[in-house]
């Protein structure tokens, strides 16, 4: 279990509450009145207030409480939950009755108890407060601040403090994606040089200890029987492919209801990109990530393995739509590339620049697949004029997509597993033939 750095909060001293003032005031006034007017009945009425005052004063905490809070997991998947835990400590002998924590958080966080308020009674000299926190959307989620308050016996004295904001990363949900076709360009015999990376392949690399994720058919039974430990045959990766993910973050279209509801265009792009990276990166394929139009341009250079997958997912959590098209105009993504590369562009295809970029990459001989992530509900709008404008734009967009498709760049809707099979087969077939590349 990983634990985030604890925040330590130390607030002002204990202050009397209106409840304590009420008890003291009623007790003093009624006892005085009883003595002055010789009214024993007033003394009876004053008794509970006087007893409460005496009790509260006796148990007045004089310590200066300290508060530490931690988040159980600083990185989770969207839809998963982690636990915020705070411990309020007071020196031994002082009496805290109970403490309350109220979490302020962004709208993509759900808490249990609902509304993020938890009350916990003290045990000995400390109070433990726990709230389950669930991220309902990918991104950097933040528990803005936690307001802590503690009260003494009879709620007579009050102490309060607040913690610093505590951000945590919610990685895109592991989307369902599988592909049967291989994007590897079959240029024939590659040569005498094998791949420099270990991975799935035919070239024997050595025998090593079994690791989680190894295939059963790779187990070397003879060696395992001798060493009494599972051993597998390691191989060098065959030809590797570079899958370049390009995410269009110029804007986020459609309403997002988080993991449990409808998805916006950026939700669909990020989840689809995450699923593709999750499919290829752990299998030894090189995967890279670029964004354009985002508030901050994120680029993850090509790499393989689970660490690369984690880097890509981390970068995805930081994508914010920015309506910034400079990255495309500067030609950062459209620069010529070498080697076998399949570019997967994830875009709602509303900004014409995205299709221009796809065309440019296609002209350079790069295999490009455009995944259309515009949600269906985007044209549904209460305002008739807005809905009409959307319908007109969608008609224009249909024409633009037809033009791109006619130029040989496939545009497909994201449908999860098998979405890309057909187009990847097409790309692989095309790369076997002679190509005209603009130099």
């Amino acid at each position: 279990m990983s634990t985030a750095e604890p925040n330590a909060a130390q607030g002002p001293p204990w202050r009397p509450t209106p409840a304590h003032f009420r008890a003291v005031a009623v007790a003093v006034v009624l006892v005085a009145a009883a003595l002055v007017w010789r009214r024993p009945d007033l003394l009876v009425i004053a008794t509970p207030f006087a007893a409460v005052t005496a009790w509260a004063t006796m148990t007045w905490p004089r310590c200066s409480p300290t508060f530490d809070d931690t988040l159980e997991h600083p990185t989770i998947r969207e839809g998963d939950a982690t636990r915020w835990r705070g411990i309020l400590r007071c020196s031994h002998g002082d009496t805290i009755d109970h403490a309350v924590a109220v979490l302020d958080h962004d709208p993509w966080i759900e808490t249990r108890p609902v509304h993020g308020a938890v009350v916990s009674a003290s045990t000995h000299d400390r109070v433990v407060l726990e709230v389950s926190v669930r991220a309902t959307r990918w991104g950097i989620r933040e528990i803005d601040r936690v307001n802590i308050s503690a009260v003494s016996t009879w709620s007579a004295f009050h102490w309060s403090s607040a913690t610093a904001p505590r951000p945590f990363a919610a990685l895109p949900a592991p989307g369902m994606f599988d592909v049967g076709a291989s994007p590897r360009p079959s240029d024939g015999l590659v040569g005498l040089h094998r791949s420099t990376r270990a991975g799935d392949g035919n070239e024997f690399a050595g025998v090593r200890t079994f690791r989680v994720g190894d295939r059963m058919r790779r187990i070397n039974w003879a060696r395992s029987a001798r060493t009494r430990d599972l051993q597998v045959n390691a191989t060098w990766a065959d030809l590797d492919t570079h899958v370049a993910l390009v995410i269009d973050a110029t804007d986020d279209f459609g309403a997002s209801d988080g993991i449990d509801g409808s998805a916006s265009s950026l939700d669909a792009s990020v989840r689809a990109g995450g699923a593709i990276a999750e499919h290829y990166a752990p299998r030894g394929e090189r995967v890279s990530l670029s964004t354009f139009g985002a508030r901050v341009v994120h680029e993850v250079p090509p790499g393989t393995g689970r660490a690369q997958l984690r880097r890509i997912l981390d970068a995805m959590t930081r994508i914010r739509p920015g309506n910034d098209l400079r990255a495309i105009r500067a030609g950062r993504l459209g620069r010529p590339t070498t080697g076998a590369r399949m570019t997967v562009m994830l875009s709602p295809l509303i900004a014409p620049e995205a299709l221009d970029l796809a065309m440019r990459l296609g002209r350079q001989g790069v295999g490009v697949v455009v995944i259309d992530t515009l949600p269906d509900h985007v044209a549904e709008h209460d305002d008739e004029l807005t809905a009409l404008a959307w319908r007109v734009r969608l008609l224009e967009r249909r024409r633009e997509v037809r033009m791109v498709t006619a130029a040989g760049i496939p545009v497909v809707r994201w449908r999860g597993p098998g979405s890309l099979d057909e187009v990847i087969r097409d790309i692989a077939r095309r790369t076997t033939g002679p190509r005209l590349v603009r130099r």
Binding site: A19, A34, D41, P48, A51, V100, A121, S149
Partner: protein
Amino acid sequence: MRPDGPAQLRRLLRVSPQRWLLAATAVIAAVGTSILVGVTGGGLPPLVLAIVGALAVTATARPDTHTALVVVGVVVWQWLVVTDDPTGPVVVATALGLLVFHTTIALMAAAPVTATFGTDLLLRWLARAAVVGGATVATWALVLLMETRRADGNALLTFAGFVVALIFVVMLLARASASRSTR
């Protein structure tokens, strides 16, 4: 700026069921005590009842203010004005009613409206209120004793008895905290 209607409705919907129960307990304790005082005193002005009710509701809505003090003040003033039998059982019922009101408001002030108190915490508060209620009954018993003996100047003697009862409560508390620290 005051929140609009839907915003207020949303705020009301966020209130926990337990909070509604505590608020009802506080209002019933205040209004019930006022009715009891009025009925046994021979007169129950609707205006006083309305004032106590309105103030009690306000106090439950804003328990961290001094509105609850005003409620207690109004009920005590009503007691002083209308009561004919100062040492009858109504006085102890009034004291216990005000204790319930004070305790409930103090508990409500200690947490936001969305929070829910655990059973252990409620039992702890109930036990404390029972101890204080016992001290109140003991004080009333002392008053009755002096009433039956027709002792003059009994306010001072009652005060002495009150102090004795208070010492008894303090001793109980000391024993309770000692046993807690040895656990």
